[in-house]
């Protein structure tokens, strides 16, 4: 099973909630070869979705060129302290992970 994400959601001036996400993922490109010379198949996150109180605030698509252990920073209007932000991803093997944070 995939390791948990680290999500920080912080209310900033002007009612903007800043969300910073760290995901644990190998993000294998499909370009590398192992010691035996065989291509290591691509294995990366493809889609990421973030919701705030159940409403989608961001959806993203990742290719293999996003770095290992991806970082994703974004912000949205309207959040309040104590609200929930949920981030979910799906990768090329169909593996999924979903974690949540409370806006601080």
């Amino acid at each position: 099973m995939a390791d948990p994400m680290r999500i920080r959601a912080q209310l900033k001036d002007g009612g903007i909630t800043e969300v910073r996400v760290l995901m644990a993922h190998i993000m294998e490109t499909g370009q590398r070869k192992d010691s035996a010379g065989n291509v290591i198949p691509a294995h990366h996150i493809q889609t990421v979705t973030a919701t705030w109180n159940g409403k989608t605030v961001l959806s993203a698509q990742f290719g293999p060129a996003v770095s290992q252990n991806p970082v994703m920073n974004f912000s949205f209007k309207g959040g309040a302290k104590g609200d929930k932000v949920v981030v979910s991803w799906t990768d090329t093997k169909g593996d999924k992970r979903s974690d949540e944070a409370v806006i601080a």
């Binding site: 390791d3 948990p4 994400m5 680290r6 760290l22 190998i26 290591i40 290992q68 252990n69 970082v71």
Partner: protein, 270 residues
């Protein structure tokens, strides 16, 4: 033909003139890159895994690590790394953080040294980081902001420092290298990495407080034991044994030299 050679010479000459400026600018840009990287360190993911492991009941004795005494009393994790290595009366010797974690896994959880020392470090980025790396990441992270102050009152702590110092300056191997060859003078670097001079307090502080570190190029967090293992490899010295007295003494030396630095590990490095 002659003209071309002359032009090439001029170009080469101009390049030497321009180089220091370019290098300075590049250095600034690299600094900026490092600042941008520091915001979001994947080592935090490993710290989270380590915290779970720490609290989990594991091993033949089905016990958690929460009763482990890392130097500030059983169960205390916050700030411990700023005072390690130190003398532990229960084993009558000086231990570094990683030795003490392994010690607790053996005494509290019933693991054996053989299984814990078999593969303490993950091999490459395709491999999941080891439990040892995760536990170390968690404990080290709990010392962020703590001031480095290794106890040096026990005779064995003083001996450990003196042995570490001796080793630091000891030349050996096919290159006739000592740690001090690179880390005992100013202005040394390997490609773009400036090497800390341990004779200067600010250098030593920066080095000691930023290990362990997440290595971008390896996609993995590396522990202080790994740092020494790899330094020995680069010096072409015999392989540093995991948790060996030599490794502990060298860490003691570095920690004493880094006194009053503020812990900021696991850090993130190229």
């Amino acid at each position: 033909m002659k003209k071309k050679t002359f032009a090439a010479l001029i170009a080469a000459f101009l390049a030497t003139l321009a180089f220091p400026l370019v290098a300075q600018d590049a250095q600034k840009q690299i600094e900026r890159y490092r600042e941008l990287l520091a915001d979001g360190n994947p080592a935090e993911l490993l710290e989270m895994r380590g915290e779970d492991l720490w609290k989990q009941k594991r091993g033949p004795k089905n016990a958690s690590m929460e009763a482990c005494d890392l130097g500030l009393g059983a169960g205390k994790v916050a700030g411990v790394n700023a005072g390690l290595p130190r003398y532990f009366a229960d084993v009558d010797r000086v231990m570094d953080l990683e030795s003490r974690i392994v010690h607790c896994e053996i005494t509290l959880q019933g693991f054996t040294m053989a299984e814990l020392a078999k593969r303490p470090h993950s091999l490459n980025q395709s491999e999941r980081q080891t439990d040892h790396e995760a536990l170390t990441a968690y404990v080290v992270g709990q010392s962020r902001g703590a001031k480095v102050s290794l106890p040096q009152s026990h005779p064995k702590e003083q001996e450990s420092f003196l042995r570490g110092e001796k080793m630091f300056f000891f030349k050996g191997g096919p290159y006739d290298f000592a740690c001090a060859t690179c880390h005992g003078v100013d202005g040394q670097r390997i490609r773009l990495q400036d090497l800390p001079n341990f004779q200067k307090a600010d250098n030593a502080q920066r080095a000691f407080t930023t290990w362990p570190a997440y290595r971008v190029s390896q996609g993995a967090m590396r522990t202080m034991q790994w740092r020494l293992l790899d330094c020995f490899r680069q010096q072409r010295l015999p392989e540093m044994e995991f948790l060996s007295p030599a490794s502990i003494d060298l860490i003691t030396y570095m920690g004493v030299k880094g006194k009053d630095g503020t812990m900021d590990a696991p850090a993130i490095k190229r």
